[in-house]
Amino acid sequence: MTKVREHLPVILAGLVVGIASVVLVALGNPVNMGFCIACFLRDIAGGVGLHQAPIVQYIRPEIIGLVLGALIMALAGKEFKVRGGSSPMTRFVLGFCVMVGALMFLGCPLRMVIRLGGGDGNAILGLIGFIIGIFVGTLFLKKGFSLKKSQPQPKIEGLLMPAVGVGLLTLVIAAPAFIFFSTEGPGSMRAPIAAALVVGLVVGAIAQRSRLCMAGGIRDAMMLRDFHLLMGFVAIFVAVLVGNLIVGAMGLKGGFTPGFAGQAVAHTDGLWNLLGMVLVGLGSVLLGGCPLRQLILSGSGNSDSSVAVLGMVVGAAFCHNFGLASSTDGPSFAGKVAVIIGLVLVCVIGVGNTKKA
């Protein structure tokens, strides 16, 4: 049996991510959204004007911190190996579809766990959908699904995503008139830039080191009876739950409020919460990791993951330009159509990349 010592980094990483998300809420981020990769990429898309939804526009320093933290840790651990060229267009489309699903549910898998830890019952439906999506993904993997080999690439290829991060950081600090800052809604709720950046750096570094992945945890448990990554997933939930109970008792922003109706940045349409996360789970398994993991890999020299992240950003812009994203009132008709198309598209990609073993 694997030694407990081997599981400690991923459990520790989960605890730190959970605590970080509670702290970021107390410092100003939206409730149950201390950390959400999908929401924050969507905010960044709005911050640079790729969409014009006024309530979700802000260049989130947390995301920049995650990429740069992963870069620093990968360099320090001599793990910065630049690779790319494994089905880039397919990865872009998968990233796009994952975002469509996430904005139907209103959160990535990480925020799903954070919502669960805040008492948001709607996230239970999301979790069920996520598990179903991952299960379908494992069927493709068992049938031989592969996005084919990546190849070594020049260093510059792997440094471009972190460079984009530095550029975005410069923009959010300098705040020139041509970038967008929400003055109301979730995009206006933000922890101070320095705090958000530092928390992002710390989480990025430990997520790189521990390979924390929401989709990987459930996937490995299903396919390989390997519960290593799942422990990180559970640790996030425990830390968020305990953290929320503590901040609730202290009267700070956040806290544990169980129920379905009236949850922060969430809607109560169970079927579409579920279907949105089916798409996220399936897309994440085919990509080889959840949105958090894609972001971490994009800072570690993996340009295939960088392309997936770009797919998510463009997907987010489409979602808000064409009314596909849900609101607290519920999903839109266009959003439902987009999720169905996304599910079909991802299955076609699954079949098209599967060879008989």
Partner: protein, 67 residues
Amino acid sequence: MNQVDARGYSCPEPVLMTKNALKNGTPLVVLVDNETPLQNVRRFAANNGYQVTWKEVGEDYELTITK
């Protein structure tokens, strides 16, 4: 010698390739190109009762799995 070249494949493919190749018996040599599959393949083999040794070969890692 039973051998798997999993360099360039993203997880969990190296583990699945290892799992399939182990059906043809041990010793099995697995080549991977970064630390993530190195850890994952080691954990998979250890969890399933195999012995694993590994060494760095240039930029890559070579794992040897035995019963």
